[in-house]
C-alpha cells in the first residue's frame, strides 16, 4: 500500500505532529478546566451573595413608612439615627406628595430598605483612617426590575436629615418611574422628578435644543409652541424623521452620515441599496430607511421630557399621577394631557420658559464679579498707597 519513502514520510509526519497534538489536547483540557473553575467560582460567589442577601432580609423591621419596610442591623444602627430617618422620610414624603399626590403613600408599598454596617477607610496625607458608616441598600421592590432595584446610600450616623431626605425622594422617583405606562416609559425613560429642575442642568438641555440641526429646537426656543411639540416628538404616527427634517435635509443628512467610515460600514451591511437610491436619485423613502437605521438625535432629551411630565403632574393636582399611571391610550400626548387636565400646549409655554433660563448669560461681568474686582483694586491700592515707604 505504501512504498518505503512514503511510509517514512508518513511516520516522520506523525512523529513530528505528536507533541503538537498532545499540546493541543492539553490546551483543550486546560481550557475546559479553566472554564470549569470559573463557573464553580461564579456559582460559589452567587451562593454566598444569596446567603448574605437572605440574611439581610431576615433582619428585624425597625420602621415601616407607608408600606416601605426598613430592616436594620440593630446592633449597629442606633435609635438616634432612626429618629433622623423618620424626619428624612417625613420631609421626603411631603415633597413627593407635591408631584405624586394621593398615590404617594402607595408608591413604596412592598419595598424594603436594608440598613447594615459598612466599614471603609479614608486616606488623607498618606494616613489611612478607618470609618464606619451605615449602608442603606435601597428599594427592593417586587414591582421593579431586579437590575434597577438598587439605589444604595452610604450614610454617617450623623448624616444631615436633608441628605437622608434626598435618598427617600430618589426612591420615590424610581418607584413612580417603574409604574409608568410602557408608552410613556419608552418616551421619557423610567424616571420621574419630584424636585424643580436645577438651572445649572438646564444649560446643556438648552444647548441641545437650539443646536439641533433641524432648526425645530431653535424655533421652539424662539416661541413657536408647535415647534416645541414637534421637538418633543409629539407628532402623528411617531414620524419624527418626517417632522424634524424636510426631504432635502433628510438626503443631506444621509450623505453626511455616510461620510463617516463607521456609519457607512454599518449602513452598507444592511441598507446598501437604500443608501444608493437615496444619494443617487434622492428617493425619499430610501433616505428615511437609512436615517431610521442610523438614528436621529432628538432635540429634547429624556430629562427635558421628564420635566415636562413633572409640570403636567403639578398642574394636574392630587390625582394627576394616578391618571398618568392608569392611561392605556398608547398616546404620550393624550396621557400627559389627561394627567395635567389641560392640553399639552398649555404645558409647553412654561416648559419653554424653564429651558430659556438655561441659556448662558452674556460674557459681560455680573454684579458679583464687578464688586469683587473693584474691592480687590480698592483694597490693594489703598493698602499700597497708605503704606509708609
Amino acid at each position: 500500500m505504501f512504498d518505503r519513502p512514503r511510509l517514512g514520510a508518513l511516520l516522520a509526519s506523525i512523529t513530528l505532529a505528536l507533541p503538537a497534538l498532545a499540546q493541543s489536547s492539553d490546551r483543550a483540557v486546560q481550557q475546559r478546566r479553566a472554564v470549569d473553575i470559573a463557573a464553580r467560582t461564579y456559582v460559589a460567589a452567587a451562593d454566598a451573595y444569596d446567603q448574605r442577601r437572605d440574611a439581610r432580609l431576615r433582619l428585624p423591621v425597625v420602621r415601616t413608612y407607608a408600606g416601605l419596610q426598613v430592616r436594620a442591623d440593630t446592633t449597629f444602627v442606633q435609635r438616634e439615627f432612626l429618629v433622623r430617618l423618620d424626619s428624612g422620610f417625613a420631609r421626603a414624603r411631603q415633597e413627593a406628595a407635591g408631584a405624586f399626590g394621593v398615590t404617594t403613600d402607595s408608591l413604596l408599598a412592598g419595598a424594603q430598605v436594608i440598613l447594615t454596617q459598612s466599614t471603609s477607610s479614608r486616606t488623607r496625607f498618606g494616613v489611612s483612617t478607618p470609618s464606619q458608616s451605615i449602608h442603606a441598600e435601597g428599594l427592593r421592590s417586587p414591582s421593579m426590575a431586579w437590575s434597577s432595584s438598587y439605589h444604595n446610600a452610604g450614610w454617617r450616623t450623623t448624616e444631615p436629615i436633608d441628605q437622608i431626605k434626598s435618598y427617600f425622594i430618589m426612591w420615590f422617583e424610581y418607584a413612580a418611574g417603574a409604574q409608568l405606562p410602557p408608552s410613556i416609559a419608552a418616551w421619557m425613560g423610567t424616571h420621574t422628578h419630584v424636585r424643580e429642575w436645577d438651572v445649572r442642568w438646564r444649560e446643556p438641555e438648552h444647548f441641545g435644543l437650539v443646536m439641533h440641526p433641524s432648526g425645530i429646537g431653535l424655533a421652539c426656543a424662539n416661541g413657536a409652541i408647535t415647534a416645541c411639540r414637534i421637538a418633543f416628538a409629539l407628532v402623528p404616527n411617531a414620524d419624527t424623521i418626517g417632522a424634524w427634517f424636510d426631504a432635502a435635509s433628510r438626503r443631506a443628512r444621509v450623505v453626511r452620515a455616510l461620510e463617516m467610515r463607521n456609519v457607512r460600514a454599518m449602513v452598507l451591511r444592511t441598507h446598501a441599496e437604500a443608501a444608493d437610491r437615496c444619494t443617487e436619485i434622492g428617493e425619499d423613502a430610501a433616505c428615511r430607511a437609512v436615517l431610521a437605521r442610523v438614528g436621529v438625535q432628538s432635540p429634547t432629551s429624556r430629562v427635558s421630557r421628564q420635566h415636562l411630565v413633572r409640570l403636567a403632574l403639578q398642574r394636574g393636582g392630587e390625582h394627576a399621577f394616578e391618571r398618568l399611571r392608569a392611561d392605556s391610550t398608547d398616546s404620550v400626548e393624550r396621557a400627559i394631557a389627561s394627567a395635567a387636565g389641560v392640553p399639552v400646549d398649555s404645558l409647553l409655554a412654561p416648559w419653554r420658559e424653564m429651558i430659556l433660563a438655561g441659556r448662558p448669560p452674556s460674557p459681560a461681568p455680573n454684579g458679583r464679579e464687578v464688586f469683587l474686582g473693584v474691592a480687590l483694586l480698592g483694597s490693594l491700592v489703598g493698602l499700597t498707597v497708605a503704606r509708609k515707604p
Partner: protein, 221 residues
C-alpha cells in the same frame, strides 16, 4: 499746579514712555478676535460648533492678553521710575499717596486703549462672520470682561510692585518656590496635591480671579 494738571502731566509722560507698548498691545488686542475667527470670516461653510470652538480660542487669548495689559501698565511705570532711582516721582510736589493714586488713575485710563482695540476686533469679527441663527455675538460683553480682567491684573501687579518695591521680584520668586516645594513634597510624601485647595479657592465664585476663567465666549447660543 492743581491735581488735574498733575494728572494730565503724569498721563502725558506715561503715554510718551509707553506709547510703543500701548500701540502694540492695542493692535494685538484688535487682532485677537479677528485672527482667531479669520477662517470663519465671510464663510458660510462653518458649522455652529466650529464657531463655538473658535470663540473659545478668542476667550483664552483674550484673558491672557488682559492679564498682560494689566501687568504692563502697572509694572512698566515703576521700572521706568526705578531707572532714575525715582527722582522724577520725588521731584513732583505731591505726597507718595497722591502719586500712587495718580499712577492708578493713569494706568486704568490707559488700559482702555487696548480694550478699545479689542472691541474693534470683536465687532469686526462679529459682523464679518456669517453667524448661524442659533448663535449670538457678544462683542461688547466680552470687551467689558476684558476691561475688568485687565483692571484686576493691574490691581494685583500694582499692589505687589508698589507694595513691595524692590523686593517684589524676590518675594514673587520666594512664593513661587515655596508653592512648588509644598506641591513636590506633598506629591512625594503623601501622594496628594497639598496646593489643590488653593487653586480651587482661587477659581471659586468668591474669588476676583475668576474673571479670567469664566465665560469668555464671543459667540454663544
Amino acid at each position: 499746579m492743581n491735581r488735574a494738571t498733575r494728572y494730565k502731566a503724569l498721563l502725558y509722560s506715561q503715554l510718551k514712555y509707553q506709547r510703543i507698548e500701548l500701540t502694540i498691545l492695542s493692535i494685538v488686542a484688535g487682532g485677537v478676535p479677528a485672527l482667531a475667527t479669520w477662517r470663519a470670516l465671510g464663510s458660510t461653510s462653518f458649522s455652529p460648533m466650529e464657531l463655538l470652538s473658535l470663540s473659545q480660542i478668542v476667550g483664552v487669548l483674550g484673558s491672557t492678553l488682559a492679564a498682560l495689559v494689566g501687568c504692563v501698565l502697572a509694572l512698566r511705570p515703576y521700572s521706568l521710575d526705578a531707572l532714575t532711582n525715582h527722582t522724577y516721582a520725588m521731584s513732583l510736589p505731591v505726597s507718595r499717596t497722591e502719586y500712587g493714586l495718580l499712577r492708578v488713575g493713569t494706568g486704568l485710563l490707559l488700559l482702555l486703549m487696548p480694550a478699545a482695540g479689542f472691541l474693534i476686533g470683536a465687532v469686526f469679527a462679529s459682523t464679518a462672520a456669517d453667524i448661524p441663527a442659533m448663535l449670538h455675538a457678544y462683542p461688547v460683553g466680552i470687551t467689558m470682561r476684558f476691561v475688568l480682567a485687565a483692571a484686576t491684573a493691574f490691581a494685583l501687579a500694582f499692589g505687589i510692585q508698589y507694595g513691595l518695591g524692590k523686593r517684589a521680584t524676590r518675594w514673587i520668586l520666594f512664593s513661587l518656590t515655596g508653592l512648588g516645594a509644598v506641591e513636590i513634597i506633598g506629591q512625594l510624601v503623601t501622594g496628594v496635591s497639598l496646593t489643590s485647595d488653593l487653586w480651587t479657592a482661587l477659581g471659586s465664585e468668591a474669588s476676583p480671579l475668576r474673571v479670567f476663567a469664566s465665560n469668555w465666549m464671543l459667540f454663544d447660543v
